[in-house]
C-alpha cells in the first residue's frame, strides 16, 4: 500500500557560489545527520562556481553515509570522461555516487568550448539519453568478478569478462570497455529532472530517480504515474524508479506562516512552485503528499542553505522521524540501499542477460 512505501528525502546544496570546501562539508554532514538519502549539487559551465563533481569528491571522505549527486552535463563533455568520473566518485565514496544528468543549451556555454553551436533542448536531451545509455554500458563493461589475480597463469584479469561496448550514437561513438573497474554500486544512481516534456522520455528510460515539480499532490501523482507508465513501456519495472518532488523551500518565515502548503511567492532559482513556511508545516506537507501515494519523496532546495538545512534537519526531519515516517539512521552503506534500489547485474554477464537489458539502447 502507498502509505508503507519508505519516504525518501534529499537536499540541494545549491546557492551562491562558494569556493571553500569547508562550506560544502559542513552542509553535507548536516544532511547526513538527518539521515537524508542524498545531497545534490548543480553545475553549469557559464555560472560562477566550482566543478560540482569535484566538490562532492572532496566531500566524500569527510562523510560516511550520505549519497552524493553532482550534476554533470552531457552537451560539451566526453561521454567516456563522464562515465569514468562518476564511476570514480562511486569508488572514492564507497558506493554513494549519483549522477544528475544535465544539458547545456546556451550560446554562452557553447562559446566556452567552440566545438558546436548551441542547440535546442529536445536534440540535446536525445543526445543526453544516448550518453546515459553508453555511460551505463561502460559501467557494465567490466563484469564484477573480472579481476582474478590468477598467479598460476600470470593473469591479473579474465579478459573474457571485459567487454567492448561498441556504441554508436547520433553524435558520438565509444569503443570501450571502461578504464575503471565496475563501480561499487554496479551503476551509480542516475537522476533526471523530468519536469519539462523533453526530458520525460529519457528520465523514464534511464533514470533511477526522477525529479518533478508540482504544486499539488494530485499533480505530482499524475506526473509520477506518467513516468511509471513510460518506464514500463521501455520494459522497466516501475518500482525500480523513485519519483521525488523538487521543491524550493524558504523556512525563513518560521512560525509566522499561517497556512501549511505551497506559497505563491516570488520565483526562486529554478522556477516552479516553492514552499514558504516553518519546518513543522513542511513536515506536514511532506507527510500528506507521501501518505496519499503521490510521491516517493522530496528533493528540497533551501533558498538559504545554512539556515534552512538546519531547520529541515532539526525541525522537519526530526518531526517526521518522531512520527516514524522517516528513518533515524542509514541502515545501508550505499545510495542504492538508501533508495531501496537493487544493485544491477552487468548486462554483459551471461547468466543475467534478459530481454529488458538487450533492448535498452542504441548500441550496434
Amino acid at each position: 500500500m502507498p502509505a508503507t512505501r519508505p519516504l525518501h528525502l534529499a537536499v540541494a546544496l545549491d546557492g551562491p557560489a562558494q569556493y571553500d570546501p569547508a562550506y560544502y562539508v559542513a552542509l553535507a554532514r548536516l544532511a547526513e545527520r538527518g539521515a537524508l538519502d542524498f545531497v545534490t549539487l548543480g553545475d553549469c559551465f557559464a555560472r560562477p562556481g566550482l566543478d560540482a563533481l569535484a566538490v562532492l569528491a572532496r566531500v566524500a571522505p569527510a562523510t560516511e553515509r550520505i549519497g552524493l549527486v553532482p550534476t554533470v552535463t552531457t552537451t560539451h563533455t566526453e561521454p567516456f570522461h563522464v562515465s569514468t568520473a562518476v564511476a570514480t566518485l562511486d569508488w572514492v565514496s564507497r558506493g554513494r555516487a549519483g549522477w544528475a544528468i544535465g544539458i547545456s543549451t546556451t550560446e554562452a556555454e557553447a562559446s566556452l568550448f567552440g566545438r558546436r553551436p548551441a542547440a535546442p533542448a529536445d536534440a540535446l536531451w536525445r543526445e543526453a539519453g544516448e550518453v546515459a545509455d553508453v555511460v551505463a554500458r561502460l559501467w557494465d563493461s567490466w563484469e564484477d568478478d573480472a579481476e582474478i589475480r590468477d598467479t598460476s597463469t600470470g593473469r591479473f584479469i579474465d579478459r573474457g569478462k571485459l567487454h567492448h561496448v561498441d556504441f554508436r550514437g547520433g553524435t558520438f561513438s565509444v569503443r570501450g570497455p571502461s578504464t575503471v573497474p565496475r563501480p561499487p554500486q554496479g551503476r551509480p544512481v542516475v537522476v533526471v529532472d523530468g519536469t519539462a516534456g523533453v526530458c520525460r522520455e529519457p528520465a523514464a528510460r534511464y533514470a533511477d530517480v526522477v525529479l518533478v515539480r508540482a504544486g499539488a499532490p494530485e499533480q505530482a501523482a499524475a506526473l509520477r504515474e506518467d513516468i511509471r507508465r513510460r518506464a514500463a513501456a521501455h520494459g522497466r519495472d516501475p518500482d525500480t524508479l523513485r519519483v521525488l518532488v523538487a521543491l524550493a523551500v524558504d523556512l525563513g518565515v518560521g512560525e509566522a506562516a499561517p497556512e501549511p502548503g505551497l506559497a505563491a511567492g516570488p520565483p526562486l532559482a529554478g522556477g516552479g512552485p516553492h514552499f514558504s513556511g516553518g519546518p513543522v508545516e513542511l513536515a506536514q506537507l511532506i507527510a500528506e503528499w507521501h501518505s496519499c501515494g503521490a510521491v516517493d519523496g522530496f528533493r528540497l532546495a533551501p533558498i538559504a542553505p545554512h539556515r534552512d538545512l538546519e531547520r529541515i534537519v532539526n525541525g522537519t526531519v526530526a518531526l517526521l522521524q518522531h512520527r516514524s515516517l522517516f528513518r533515524t539512521f542509514h541502515p545501508g552503506g550505499t545510495l542504492r540501499e538508501h533508495l531501496g534500489l537493487a544493485r544491477p547485474a552487468s548486462r554483459y554477464a551471461p547468466t543475467t542477460r534478459t530481454p529488458a537489458s538487450t533492448q535498452a539502447g542504441g548500441a550496434v
Binding site: V55, V92, S111
Partner: protein
C-alpha cells in the same frame, strides 16, 4: 655558515597500471579502492613529499586484438581521486596526468582550478599528448591527430588554460576571455576565481626535442626518465639551458626523474631483493609478451627459459602511427632484435633473462644510508632536482623509504624537516605566477 644547501624534492607515483607493479605479491592490495590511495598519500605526506602523482590511461591496452591481461588493469579517474585525497591530506601536492588531445581547455582548466581551490593550492597537472587513433575510438573527436600537431595543440591548450586562470584578477571580478587559436576558440567568462597558488603547477613528461622545448617554455616540473648518471646530467644541462631562451631562470623549472628504490640491511640483501622484484615484474608470460611486441608475431610456443627466436621480427608498418604493437611503439624492430640477440649470446641469457636485462629501469639499490647518499649526490651534481619514486607495491611500497631513508636524508641536510608552506608551489620553491590579465 655556507650558502643554503640544495635540497631534494620527492614525489610519489601511485603504482597502478604498468608492468612495474607486482600484483602477485601477497602484500599487494587493491589498485582501485580509495583506501589504497589514502594509504600511499598519507605515507608520502608523512615523508614530507612535494606531491603525489597519478598516471592516466584512456583506453585499456590491447595486444594482438585482445585486452592485455597480465599486468594491473583498471584505475579510477585521476582528478576525482585527487579531490577526495584533498580531504585526507593537508599539505601534499596532488598531481593528475591529463591528456590534451582528448580534452577541451575550458573544461579541464575549470576542473584543475577546482582541485586547486578544494585542496588549498595543491593541484598539479601533468600535461601529456597522444596521437593515437586507438585511444581516439573512445572520444567524440575520434581518431588520429598528426604527430606534428600534438605539441602545437598541447602548447595552445596550456596557453588557453593559463589565460583562463588569469582571466579572474587576484582580487576582482572576472574579465571576459577570448582566444581564437588554430586548435581552440574559447570565449566567455571563467567561473572559478584565481586559485590559491595562482595557477596549478604544470608538469611535463616528454623527452623529444619538441617535448623538451615545450617543458622549457611552460612547465614548472619535468618528469624525466633519465636516471643513469651521465644521461641524467646531460638531460638536466640541456633542459636548463633552454630556459634562458624563453626568458626564464634556471630555478623556475624542477627536473625530477622517475626512479625506483630497493633497500636492504646490506648491499647484498638489497641486490638480491631487487633481482627478485625484477623476476616478479617479468613473469614468463610477460617475457613472451615483451618479445612479441618487438617481433610483431605470435611467439606463444616459445619457452621463456629458452633462447631467443632465430627468425627475424616482422617489419613495423608505420612507426608513427601509435601503439601498433599494443603497448609500446617499437620504431625499428630489426635493430632491437639484433641488440637483444647480441646481449643474449654474449651473456648466455634466456628470453626472460634478456627481457629482465633490457627492460630494467634505473633503480637506487642498497642500504638506507647508501640510497640516501646516492640521491643526494644526484642533486648536488645537477643530475636532478629530485625524484618521482615509483614503488612496485600498492599501497605499502613507500613505507620503508619514508621510515628508513627520509630520516637519513634529513640528517644530511638534504631534505626538509617540515613543510615551509601550504601550497605545492611553496614546496617546490616556485613563485606564484604573476597575474597577466
Amino acid at each position: 655558515m655556507t650558502a643554503a644547501r640544495r635540497q631534494l624534492h620527492l614525489a610519489a607515483h601511485f603504482p597502478g597500471v604498468n608492468s612495474t607493479t607486482v600484483w602477485a605479491d601477497p602484500r599487494s592490495r587493491s589498485q582501485i579502492d580509495f583506501s589504497s590511495f589514502e594509504h600511499l598519500a598519507r605515507t608520502a605526506e608523512r615523508g614530507l613529499f612535494d606531491f603525489f602523482f597519478l598516471a592516466e590511461g584512456l583506453r585499456l591496452r590491447e595486444h594482438r586484438g585482445l585486452i592485455h591481461d597480465l599486468d594491473v588493469v583498471g584505475r579510477p579517474e585521476s582528478i576525482t581521486v585527487l579531490n577526495a585525497l584533498a580531504a585526507v591530506t593537508d599539505r601534499l601536492g596532488l598531481a593528475a596526468t591529463v591528456n590534451t588531445t582528448f580534452n577541451e581547455p575550458y573544461e579541464l582548466a575549470r576542473r584543475l582550478a577546482s582541485l586547486d581551490h578544494l585542496s588549498g593550492g595543491r593541484a598539479a597537472w601533468n600535461v601529456v599528448t597522444s596521437s593515437d587513433a586507438f585511444t581516439g575510438e573512445n572520444f567524440r573527436r575520434g581518431g588520429h591527430l598528426d604527430r606534428a600537431d600534438r605539441y602545437t595543440r598541447a602548447a595552445e591548450f596550456v596557453r588557453t588554460a593559463r589565460g583562463l586562470w588569469d582571466s579572474w584578477p587576484p582580487d576582482g571580478t572576472p574579465r571576459r576571455f577570448a582566444r581564437h587559436g588554430r586548435h581552440f576558440t574559447v570565449e566567455g567568462e571563467f567561473t572559478v576565481p584565481r586559485s590559491p597558488q595562482g595557477h596549478p603547477v604544470v608538469i611535463q613528461a616528454g623527452d623529444s626535442d619538441e617535448g623538451r622545448e615545450f617543458a622549457a617554455s611552460t612547465a614548472d616540473v619535468v618528469f624525466s626518465r633519465h636516471t643513469a648518471p651521465e644521461a641524467a646530467r646531460a638531460f638536466y644541462a640541456d633542459v636548463k639551458a633552454r630556459l634562458a631562451r624563453h626568458g626564464r631562470a634556471r630555478d623556475e623549472l624542477r627536473i625530477m626523474p622517475g626512479a625506483s628504490v630497493v633497500i636492504g640491511d646490506t648491499d647484498a640483501e638489497a641486490q638480491e631483493k631487487a633481482a627478485e622484484i625484477r623476476l616478479q615484474q617479468v613473469s614468463p608470460q610477460n617475457a613472451i609478451l615483451a618479445l612479441e611486441l618487438v617481433w610483431g608475431r605470435d611467439l606463444s610456443s616459445y619457452d621463456p627459459d629458452g633462447p631467443l627466436p632465430a627468425v627475424d621480427p616482422a617489419p613495423c608498418p608505420d612507426p608513427d602511427s601509435g601503439p601498433v604493437r599494443g603497448r609500446v611503439r617499437v620504431a625499428d624492430p630489426l635493430a632491437v632484435a639484433a641488440e637483444w640477440r647480441a646481449l643474449s649470446e654474449a651473456k648466455g641469457l634466456s628470453i626472460r633473462q634478456t627481457v629482465v636485462e633490457t627492460s630494467g629501469r634505473q633503480s637506487f639499490i642498497g642500504t638506507p644510508a647508501g640510497v640516501a647518499a646516492a640521491l643526494d649526490t644526484y642533486v648536488r651534481t645537477e643530475a636532478a632536482d629530485g625524484f618521482v619514486l615509483v614503488p612496485h607495491l600498492t599501497p605499502g611500497g613507500l613505507d620503508d623509504f619514508v621510515d628508513r631513508v627520509v630520516p637519513l636524508l634529513q640528517e644530511r641536510g638534504a631534505f626538509r624537516t617540515s613543510y615551509a608552506g601550504t601550497t605545492l608551489r611553496s614546496h617546490l620553491g616556485l613563485a606564484e605566477p604573476v597575474w597577466e590579465g
